[in-house]
């Protein structure tokens, strides 16, 4: 990896030593199933849309060696994100393999692609490990949600959540945090919708800050080595995703190991061809999304 000694990788633009995480373990392995999605949401942090193959579909054969290697490294959980994972033709076969070994979580919009394949998905309840779904319901307001995701999709996602829950799958929702909002008050607004779909009122809600679309260059403070010890303690550093997580991303017919789920638009975070090699690489906190993790403790994980 030629960039590892490059000045802008190891130093901030002010010449300070850049903050970094030296990965300690692999608790969680993510797979990027491809940028192809049935929706075209203007705020998508992956920039995914129909027919988008910037990040290719992972196949079962792409995934198999990484699962084997991750098990050797003590992985606890496999997670999947896209695009919409259920647009990927191999998705159910991949889950079938992964669930043989560990619990799995899928981030889905729970609209047509998952609804079309629901009869294929339901038998996965019989696998030896748990399958959970995290579904995006951006706002506790169907009209506002549908403005970004398409007419009728709040109701479709909610219905699919209810169906998955009724069959015994674990479900949670993801939503966006607005500036200055009262988090608990907004969460409470979801309860009537949950109840209408047969979901528990205390369904887990994971709220995220705005990560900006791919290739964005928002102005954010730079994270220096000094910041890592001045503002974070050892426990907080330990909880940063890049300390215990990796993501497999396939571009140009090659599956590589990226540092986390949020940096696949930056080739510098393509750390290695294998998980073992990637664990040796210091993850420099250069990406603008690193600041969200640093400042807000944002994490896509449900492991930690």
């Amino acid at each position: 990896m030629l960039h590892l000694d490059r000045e802008d990788w190891v130093k901030t633009s002010d010449g300070d030593s850049r903050g970094y995480i030296q990965p300690q373990r692999l608790d969680e392995l993510w797979f990027h199933t491809g940028t192809n999605c049935n929706l075209r949401c203007p705020f998508c942090l992956e920039g995914s849309k129909p027919g988008d193959n910037r990040i290719s579909f992972l196949t079962l054969e792409d995934v198999r060696p990484f699962i084997t290697e991750a098990l050797e490294l003590g992985v606890k959980n496999f997670s999947f994100t896209g695009g919409e994972p259920f647009v990927n033709p191999d998705m159910v076969r991949i889950l079938d393999l992964a669930l043989t070994h560990r619990s799995c979580m899928v981030l889905s919009n729970a609209t047509e692609p998952l609804m079309n394949r629901i009869n294929e998905v339901l038998p996965l309840i019989n696998k030896p490990n748990d399958l959970s779904f995290r579904v995006s319901l951006d706002f506790p307001n169907p009209e506002k949600h549908d403005e970004g995701r398409g007419k009728g999709n709040f109701r479709r996602s909610l219905n699919t959540l209810g169906r998955l829950h009724s069959f015994g799958f674990h479900v949670s929702i993801a939503r966006l945090i607005a500036n200055g909002e009262d988090v608990e008050a907004v969460n409470r607004e979801y309860v009537p919708f949950f109840e209408s779909a047969g979901l528990p009122a205390d369904l887990r809600i994971v709220a995220f800050p705005d990560f900006f679309p791919p290739d964005s260059l928002p102005e954010i403070p730079q994270i220096t080595e000094n910041c890592m010890t001045s503002y974070l303690n050892a426990e907080q550093r330990d909880e940063m995703m890049c300390n215990f997580s990796k993501m497999i991303v396939k571009k140009n017919d090659r599956a590589g190991v990226y540092a986390c789920t949020l940096v696949d638009d930056d080739h510098d975070y393509d750390l290695a061809d294998t998980l073992k090699e990637s664990m040796e690489v210091r993850v420099m906190l250069k990406h603008h999304r690193c600041y969200s993790c640093f400042a807000y403790g944002a994490s896509c994980s449900e492991v930690s």
């Binding site: 999605c37 049935n38 929706l39 075209r40 849309k49 129909p50 027919g51 988008d52 193959n53 910037r54 647009v87 033709p89 159910v92 047509e112 692609p113 609804m115 079309n116 394949r117 629901i118 009869n119 294929e120 339901l122 970004g148 995701r149 398409g150 007419k151 009728g152 479709r156 169906r163």
Partner: protein, 222 residues
């Protein structure tokens, strides 16, 4: 691996729908499978259900030209001999897959008839099949003579008077179906139709949703 296939023909079947026929190159598929078809050398592709039978020498697709459709507009200008890139066949919507002799009901709108045409062409002797087929105008009804000869097709026209067929929506005909035990329902077309039909079948019809198979077109908001 993706295949480079030569275009055999392109025939406009209606003012907005064309049938694209390409060399098969020995590819095996199951009726209901889709292929991702790419626009030129780029990364943009769309999935299209194959409409041809499994014994035919070519692959046929029914493609609706969309006003801002990157892929459909590219494909609409192809000429015989041009090369296009196709993915391997894929899919999970396979009419008749879960049945032996149980009755089948196909419900389609527009080009959503493609997987059912493929099934009926591949298995001409299987049955019985009832097919509810919704179109906006009579000219939009694709391969109607073939459908009439292959199954109990019930055409529904939503925006045109003066035909012997029912005017309205396919959901209007649901109460007329014999909901025989074991029947599997295969739905292909626009999301709104499929949501409505699924809700009726599960609710009023009392059909277990494991017998309702959906293939919804992905229409993304722009």
């Amino acid at each position: 691996m993706d295949e480079l296939c030569s275009v055999v023909s392109l025939e406009w079947r209606t003012s907005k729908v064309f049938e694209l026929t390409v060399e098969r190159n020995g590819v095996e598929f199951t009726p209901g499978d889709s292929f991702a078809i790419f626009a030129g050398d780029g990364n943009e592709s769309r999935p299209y259900s194959v409409a041809s039978g499994t014994d035919e020498p070519t692959l046929r697709f029914l493609i609706q030209q969309l006003p801002d459709g990157i892929v459909s507009n590219y494909l609409s200008e192809l000429r015989p001999g041009d090369k296009i890139r196709l993915s391997e066949p894929f899919g999970w919507f396979h009419p008749g897959k879960n049945t032996s002799d149980e009755p089948l009901v196909f419900i389609a709108t527009g080009t959503g008839i493609a997987p059912f045409l493929s099934y009926l062409r591949a298995y001409p002797d299987k049955g019985p099949v009832v097919c509810l087929y919704g179109v906006r105008y009579f000219e939009d009804a694709l391969d109607l003579d073939f459908l009439k000869s292959s199954c109990d097709v019930r055409l529904v026209i939503s925006r045109e008077d003066g035909h012997i067929y029912h005017k309205g929506r396919v959901t209007d005909l649901l109460p007329s179906l014999d909901l025989l035990a074991g029947t599997h329902f295969y739905l292909c077309g626009l999301d709104a139709m499929i949501d409505d039909v699924s809700a009726w079948l599960e609710g009023t019809g009392g059909i277990d949703f494991s017998h309702i198979h959906r293939e919804v077109f992905f229409h993304a908001p722009s």
